[in-house]
Amino acid sequence: MTEQTMQAAAAVKKRTKIAWKELLMKLVFILAAILFVAAVLTICIFIFAQAVPAVAEIGFFKFLFGSVWAPNNDVPSYGIATMIVGSCYITAGALIIGVPIGLLTAVFMARYCPRPLYRVMKPMTNILAGIPSIVYGYFGVCVMVPFIRRTFGGTGSSILTASVILGIMILPTIISVSENALRAVPKSYYEGALALGATKERAIIFTEVPAAKSGIMTSIILGLGRVIGETMAVVMIAGNQTAFPSSILDGVRTMTANIVLELGYATGLHRGALIATAAVLFVFILIITILVSLIRKKAK
């Protein structure tokens, strides 16, 4: 072998070495992506592995539709119907308060807000998103609960209180996602409506909002997900009674509150029932995630 071919061989060797490194790192990147899927699967498996036997022992219908939650009775009863209803009431209440205000604020931010004001308002809504839920909860306990008690009577810890606080909590989600959706509507829609003689408001409500429909729906569903999953704020202000409410001034217990209140001391089937509650919550969130992706697909 001449010296030249030796050099060439060395160069080729070096090349293959680099290619090895490339391949190795590519594998590492793929592994990192696989970890995401693995994480979701592990969470699913470990929660359902403990939830399914518990639900089987209690009875599927007794668990989902039973209205008595009495884990400490001599004959314990594990029905989470009151909590599912509680979660639904509070979610509906928060959406009724949060969605109109959030949506109209998004319209304001996208179409009315002068630039200097926008520079102040945008960070403000971001601040709202950054406040930890425990602080919202404590604010609710110290301000909202006494206020509701004085104004409407009752104990103050009620569906109404929780709805107001959670309605404020979802505002930033709804505002920012809807605002982006409104801004993404082509300017020509607005101009066309104006040219046809519509006022600014008519143009926004009847052409731009329908055009941004899918983004607005996404924002509402994201807000819904946040309310259903909210724990600390709800525990502190919703009253936590395990009974069907008869008015919006009654307290309710949500599924999340049930878990955080009792997980600390629960054992045996009681613990299984709590984990099953988490599984129900997980299924709710899965449905929501699928809904969001369906809406996105449709929008494309």
Binding site: I30, L31, F46, V141, I204, M232, I259, S293
Partner: protein, 313 residues
């Protein structure tokens, strides 16, 4: 000139007088009273406009109400003994809780940043977006982002605390938080990688660099500010988290001695103070520190993120 115009059939205009430009009233400008008059004729539009204004006012009012009330109650209660080194039943110091928070946050970031960034690199630089695997990973990331924190808490309790046998500890808490912030880091990294212009990649390849070298030497440094802003956002999420950490990191009020000892974070500290009922002042003071921490962290994230936008636009 005049003759020429006449031949061509044009009219000659008399020489125009100088007009005073300042007296011209632009017809496309509406004064306030014009607008009001127009609105009076269109009651629907007027009502919508008023509703929009009211909604914006309510939003601003809600922010100011929560923020100012918390600051007004909390700042007067901030006393130096709340920041004493050792927690005692008397001083209720929050410093150990702050240390625990930083410990858990640092640990969670050390684990989740490489995984999140690497996964994002795979999604943007290697995989085609039509790939089925990419869709599955994206779906998984979206699911992870949507899972409520209490479900993470239960999973952490079952898996890290019991199955792995680490007990309620810093490590269990940090790993639970890792799962929570992974999707945040991946999404922001993905977005900033996509923002790096393709010419950077082409230039690098043209100079003979391999794919790996291009990624680590050219693309990652260019996308750094976006990645950092994602990391800081994740940090903010850890600081504000309560429900996922109560049953994984524990509620001991003392600074954790190591990976396997338990300790409460600042948010849990506030929860425990607030359900007690006796420590209202201390709870508000903790709330102020918590809000200040989260706001500084989020502000930092936005500042760093905006820097990225400026670089390429």
């Amino acid at each position: 000139m005049e003759k020429e115009n006449a031949v061509l059939g044009r009219k000659t205009l008399p020489p125009q007088e100088e007009t005073d430009v300042s007296k011209i009233v632009p017809i496309n400008r509406q004064s306030f009273s014009d607008k009001l008059r127009a609105y009076m004729k269109k009651p629907f539009s007027f009502v919508v406009m008023i509703l929009v204004m009211i909604a914006a006012a309510i939003t601003v009012g809600a922010v100011l109400w929560v923020l100012i009330y918390t600051l007004a109650r909390g700042i007067p209660s901030l006393k130096p003994e709340l920041f004493a080194w050792e927690y005692t039943r008397k001083n209720l110091s929050m410093l150990p809780a702050i240390i625990n928070t930083l410990f858990i946050a640092a640990l969670a970031l050390v684990i989740s940043v490489p995984i999140g960034v690497f996964a994002a690199i795979f999604m943007v630089e290697y995989a085609k977006s039509t790939n089925v695997f990419v869709k599955i990973v994206r779906m998984a990331a979206e699911t992870l982002a949507g899972i409520p924190s209490i479900v993470y808490g239960i999973f952490g309790m079952i898996f890290f605390v019991e199955v792995c046998g680490w007990g309620t500890s810093m490590l269990s808490g940090a790993l639970t938080m890792t799962l929570m912030i992974l999707p945040v880091i991946m999404r922001t990294t993905e977005e900033s990688l996509k923002a790096v212009p393709d010419t950077f990649r082409e230039g690098s390849y043209a100079l003979g660099a391999g794919k790996l070298r291009t990624i680590f030497v050219i693309i990652l440094p260019s996308a750094m500010s976006g990645i950092i802003s994602g990391i800081i956002l994740g940090l903010g999420r850890v600081v504000g988290e309560t429900a996922a950490l109560i049953y994984t990191a524990g509620t001991s009020a003392y600074a954790a001695g190591g990976l396997f000892s338990e300790g409460r974070t600042l948010a849990i500290h506030m929860y425990i103070l607030s359900i007690n009922g006796l420590y209202e002042e201390e709870a508000w003071a903790t709330a102020v520190v918590l809000i200040a921490l989260v706001l500084v962290i989020n502000g930092l994230a936005e500042f760093v993120g905006n820097k990225l936008k400026k670089e390429y636009n």
